[in-house]
């Protein structure tokens, strides 16, 4: 009786500690974004929306936010299209060294972002491409393509193969099979890959930092703000970033998983 109480107590404390560990930093960040005072540190002096007002009034932050959205959506779309084409090719046709090709496509997942960024930086310098949001976008395609490929490839089964065969039998050309049959059938996993890519690109710092120059993404802008010291405004913009990530994941949950459940 007592031992079961103790074990219950222990498991509850473990649970609380676990979630506390994960969410406490975020909770503190969000809490002090409402701080009525100059410093985002305890004690909490009372709530104000002043810092959010400053964030939305700051044109540099707002243009960085716009840049971030553009890069995230653009690079995620490109990564999804490339990932889908690669998955379709490798799942549907007998290709030379297809195992090796699959491995090479997924390999960048295991390389650190810093190394990828340095590699791309060297390459861009060498071929004379100047740094811009485009180069950041290319960097994000590089890190998201393996993810998109893996998610979409995993969802291509033999059942769909027969359906594609039926479409071809009814007169569809290969591109029509891809766009009108395969892609709509695989839409749940394509959307999942898309939203995850957007989230990763949205949060990514090191590649965005090393591959950008004048126009920067939001994480880079926040980093340069932090260099001038802590300020509840940085907490406010951090909260906005967090909120957008949560919104994206909710959207993924609602669109993709509800869709899958219906089928």
């Amino acid at each position: 009786m007592i031992s079961s109480r103790i074990s219950k107590l222990l498991s509850w404390s473990y649970l609380i500690a676990l979630y506390g560990f994960i969410f406490l930093p975020v909770a503190v960040l969000v809490l002090f974004s409402f701080q009525d005072g100059r410093l985002p540190v305890p004690p909490f002096n009372g709530a104000t929306l002043k810092w959010y007002g400053e964030v939305f009034a700051d044109s540099r932050l707002m243009s960085a936010l716009g840049n971030s959205l553009m890069v995230a959506i653009g690079s995620a779309s490109v990564a999804c299209v490339l990932g889908f084409c690669a998955a379709y090719g490798l799942a549907r046709f007998v290709l030379p060294a297809s195992r090796l090709q699959r491995g090479l496509l997924i390999a960048p997942m295991t390389v650190s972002y810093l190394i990828i960024a340095l590699g791309l930086l060297t390459t861009f310098n060498w071929i004379g491409v100047s740094l811009s949001l485009w180069t950041v976008g290319i960097g994000h395609v590089v890190i998201n393509l393996p993810l998109c490929f893996a998610i979409i490839y995993a969802s291509m089964g033999d059942h769909q193969k027969n359906i594609e065969r039926a479409a071809r039998d009814l007169g569809a050309a290969e591109w029509q099979v891809m766009t009108q049959i395969s892609a709509p059938m695989l839409m749940p996993s394509i959307l999942a890959a898309f939203f995850l890519s957007v989230t990763f690109s949205w949060d990514e710092f090191i590649i965005a930092f090393l591959l950008s120059r004048f126009d920067v993404t939001l994480p880079v802008e926040i980093w340069s703000m932090l260099r001038s010291g802590l300020n509840p405004k940085t907490n406010a913009v951090g909260s906005v970033v967090f909120l957008v990530s949560v919104a994206l994941l909710l959207l993924l949950e609602l669109i993709v998983f509800r869709r899958t459940a219906k089928k």
Binding site: H159, N162, I163, R165, A166, A167, R168, D169, L170, G171, A172, A173, Q176, I181, P184, M185, M187, K263
Partner: protein
């Protein structure tokens, strides 16, 4: 639309395995052909050759007089109805059926009208806006049929389309399939391993085994006058009785068996030499009462071992007096009283007995297959 198909010396090998071995077959326009055989006999390979999903290692295929070598599936005048339906899950039934027409650039209003007409034919007009996952197995099968027929193919290829349905629904779909085929007049090539299904729907059955055609003919012909031991046993229960051809005349083949010597009227294509070993194939339902009209032959007396009631008949196992190790299966009339230990006469109409070359390989003498 409809067209004849001609398959000439088609061979298909996969590495060392010969799936199809020098097969030739002529199919006339509007015919309902069933390719029948056990799994691995080459029937699905033959269908894939017609659809263009495989190309023959050697030999040729012509549809409507046109050689199909190097013609892609999309360009062939054939469509296929797949066993797992292969409907497009994200499209409504109307869009599913209209898909082939869309690929042929038929205008939207026209292709929708055609799709609805076909859905009406298969009894699903009111469900045109539904998605495939809302339908039952039989309904999905009907949509697959409508979709394959919407593009008016010359030849419809059916790959065990009824295999996934339960027995009752399968019988119902067989009737519908046959009625629809007669209505549209398209050449149907249907693959199955179910001999009852084959007999129910086919104009002509092609019995296949080990990559070769064993027998071709109408269901009645294949069942009553099979040309090979395989064909005889695959089409239903049969007794094989080994014997030797003793004498041959214009009116009779005299065959000596362990159950006595009998005279069988010769069939047209029985090029047997005197002295060769032959096998008599006798269907269980061909044993009959010794009294009655028509010619009669007898294989002597037999003792009833056991019997069970099948509704339309009693199925009984008999052991002949002259060769007690042999077991004969016979169907007795519904009204008969089956008493184990009783003696009956093995009486037959000689015209129902089929004389086939040689013994069945690896089959014990006199066994029922």
């Amino acid at each position: 639309m409809t067209a004849p198909v001609s398959i000439r010396n088609a061979t298909k090998t996969f590495g060392a395995f010969t799936a199809l071995d020098d097969v030739s077959l002529e199919i006339s326009a509007g015919e309902f052909i069933v390719l029948l055989g056990p799994s691995g006999c080459g029937k699905t390979t033959l269908l894939s050759l017609l659809g263009g999903f495989l190309s023959p290692t050697s030999g040729s295929i012509e549809i409507a007089g046109r050689n199909m070598a190097d013609v892609a599936p999309a360009k062939r005048p054939t469509t296929t109805m797949f066993q797992d339906y292969a409907l497009f899950p994200h499209m409504t039934l109307r869009d599913n059926v209209a898909f082939g027409l869309k690929m042929r650039k038929v205008a939207k209003a026209k292709r929708h009208a055609k799709a609805e007409e076909l859905l009406d034919m298969v009894g699903l007009k009111t469900s045109a806006h539904k998605k495939p996952h809302e339908l039952s197995g039989g309904q999905r099968q009907r949509v697959a049929l409508a979709r394959a027929l919407a593009v008016e193919p010359d030849v419809l290829l059916l790959d065990e389309p009824l295999g996934a349905l339960d027995l009752k629904l399968r019988r119902q779909m067989q009737d519908e399939l046959k009625a629809i085929q007669k209505r549209v007049g398209t050449t149907f090539v249907h693959v199955t391993h179910d001999q009852e299904e084959a007999m129910a729907i086919a104009d002509r059955i092609v019995v296949m085994n080990a990559g070769k055609i064993e027998d071709v003919g109408s269901p009645e012909n294949i069942y009553m006058q099979p040309k090979s031991l395989f064909s005889a046993s695959f089409m239903g229960e049969v007794n094989f009785i080994p014997g030797t051809l003793e004498a041959k005349s214009d009116t009779a083949l005299t065959i000596k068996t362990a159950l006595g010597t009998v005279d069988i009227p010769p069939s047209d294509d029985a090029p047997f030499k005197q002295g060769t070993s032959v096998t008599l194939a006798i269907r269980p339902e061909h044993f009959r009462a010794s009294t009655g009209a028509g010619p009669r032959i007898t294989l002597g007396k037999a003792k009833v071992e056991d019997g069970s009631f099948f509704g339309t008949h009693h199925r009984a196992h008999l052991s002949p007096l002259d060769y007690p190790n042999m077991t004969i299966t016979a169907h007795m009339p519904q009204s008969a009283v089956i008493e184990p230990g009783a003696w009956v006469e093995l009486t037959l109409d000689p015209t129902t007995v089929v004389v086939l070359p040689d013994h069945p390989a690896n089959t014990p003498v006199g066994s029922t297959v």
